[in-house]
Subunit: 303 residues, 2 copies
């Protein structure tokens, strides 16, 4: 009751603000990827629990890819939802611009990649750079000297931040020890083959996520390398059961993906409660600020 503009209950609030009690979720990936990568299912689980607890409808806008994002923008601008949760943005995606024009209150999953004065943007992220540093320091602590990095999709800030964390520790890293991939198992396989080709003496790999690490492990096994004896491997995510059932079980940097989803939804709903539906482009209600969650190194057998 202390707060100005406090509205005592949801029904009254609904009368005032004409809420739909519906929140759009946009995963800026083709729907095939949304269903293939368990990361998204976990994030959606957190979002779904939180929205349901507040009797808000989760409206997932699926697409075949970036060409469809203009249509997503039109739907968001059409007044069908109170706000939006957007994750897995890639650089040059028109979505943030479209969302801003639509004036829809939005919370992003992962720091958006654009530059400029956008302190009003609210996002939930993990400490990707710090987590990456922990992983590479752990490998160095094991006495490894030829530590490689298999990157994620470098048009996403999470991949760039993890690469930066690797470089923070490996200040003079041999550039041939960095192989680019895209957060998928197939990308991890390709990159691991490249690395073994270029640097047969590689003795450790920090992979940008667990799916990539699982691809790298497969190639190491096929080429007769023992993990961790010959090559130590660390992933990122602590995606279960993938990390636990890897051969050998994967040492990895844990981020709480479901909690990230829950937090995104909570920040958005809190902003909607405090603000008005149309100040969205200026962030949600002006009050909530971005959150960066800590990560933890989970030690299993691979490093």
């Amino acid at each position: 009751m202390e707060e100005l503009g406090y509205v005592p209950n949801q029904a009254a609030r609904s009368l005032v603000t004409r809420r739909h009690d519906a929140v759009a979720v946009v995963v800026a990936e083709p729907e095939t990827r949304v269903f293939a990568d368990p990361f998204f299912a976990l994030q959606l689980r957190g979002i779904s629990k939180e929205l349901t607890a507040h009797d808000n409808q989760l409206v997932l806008l699926l697409t075949e890819g970036r060409d469809d994002h203009a249509r997503v923008g039109r739907y968001l601008a059409g007044g069908h939802v109170d706000g939006a949760l957007v994750f897995s943005l890639h650089l040059d995606d028109p979505l943030p611009e479209l969302i801003q024009r639509a004036g829809v209150p939005t919370v992003f999953g992962g720091r958006p990649g654009w530059n400029g004065d956008r302190r009003d943007v609210v996002y939930v992220d993990s400490d990707n750079r710090g987590g990456a540093r922990d992983a590479v320091r752990h490998l160095a602590g094991l006495g490894r000297t030829r530590i490689a990095h298999i990157t994620g999709a470098l048009d996403q800030t999470s991949a760039v931040d993890r690469l930066d964390g690797y470089r923070d520790v490996m200040v003079d890293a041999d550039p041939r020890l960095i192989a680019e991939a895209d957060f998928t198992p197939a990308g991890g396989e390709r990159a691991m083959r490249e690395l073994l080709d270029r640097c047969p003496d590689v003795d450790a790999v920090f992979a940008a996520n667990d799916l990539t690490a699982s691809g790298a492990l497969r190639v190491l096994r096929e080429t007769g390398r023992r993990v961790p004896d010959d090559v130590a491997v660390i992933g990122f995510d602590d995606m279960l059961p993938i990390a636990e059932q890897a051969d050998p079980p994967l040492t990895t940097v844990r981020q709480d993906i479901e909690e990230m989803g829950r937090l995104m939804a909570r920040l958005l709903l809190r902003g909607l409660d405090r603000g008005t539906p149309h100040e969205g482009a200026q962030g949600v209600g002006g009050t909530p600020s971005s959150v960066v969650l800590p990560t933890t190194l989970v030690r299993r057998a691979s490093a």
Copy 2:
């Protein structure tokens, strides 16, 4: 041009009917199940391709379960979409009633379970009963006499139809040869244990889907039964890679799940083009009728 009411292009049509160019998809299952069972990803893939080809936005309404369906009904009634595609309905689900009241043109995936005079209901289904008959006849043709059936969730018509197909062939089946499950691997495991307990002489199993069959195979392996020598097993779906990578590779009844999704979307869009948005409760445009797709037996190693 021959058809009355023909509208030459989408822009003009949009002016006439105030279309949102958005279609809701409701899977009447908790979101955890939507992401855990590849059946839904496949059906959504077909729907997404077809809607995208017609520049319609796929609006997936996720829930934590049936308690949330009243909220889904409110969203559908709120005029945010032109029509709805609804699948995996269970008996006594309030959704069909809510949808009818909302007056939203709808195509169902799978024959809805309610009774009465609803010839106006449009659905896309597979020939579940015929496919089940083919499976059980194949097992009988192999000389098996103690043929069991592990059912799907019997509050769904697909499960009831497959049980009916089993009974069509096994006219005087020992009732102890029928074990109830729920289309999940865990359900298949439980049911297979029950069957072995009750009828240790069982020599064949027709499982209601491939996931259930995979659970049954696990239990047969654990209890030292050879497949197909001791017990032949047939599934339903031909879900890849599950059926191919089963141990042994699974003989199964194929239904084209992605095509079912595509057809649902096509029927709905065709109905919307011909009809008006508000005759929905009377079916879409009155023109399209339900479609039942044929199934095929795919022989691999398990039977």
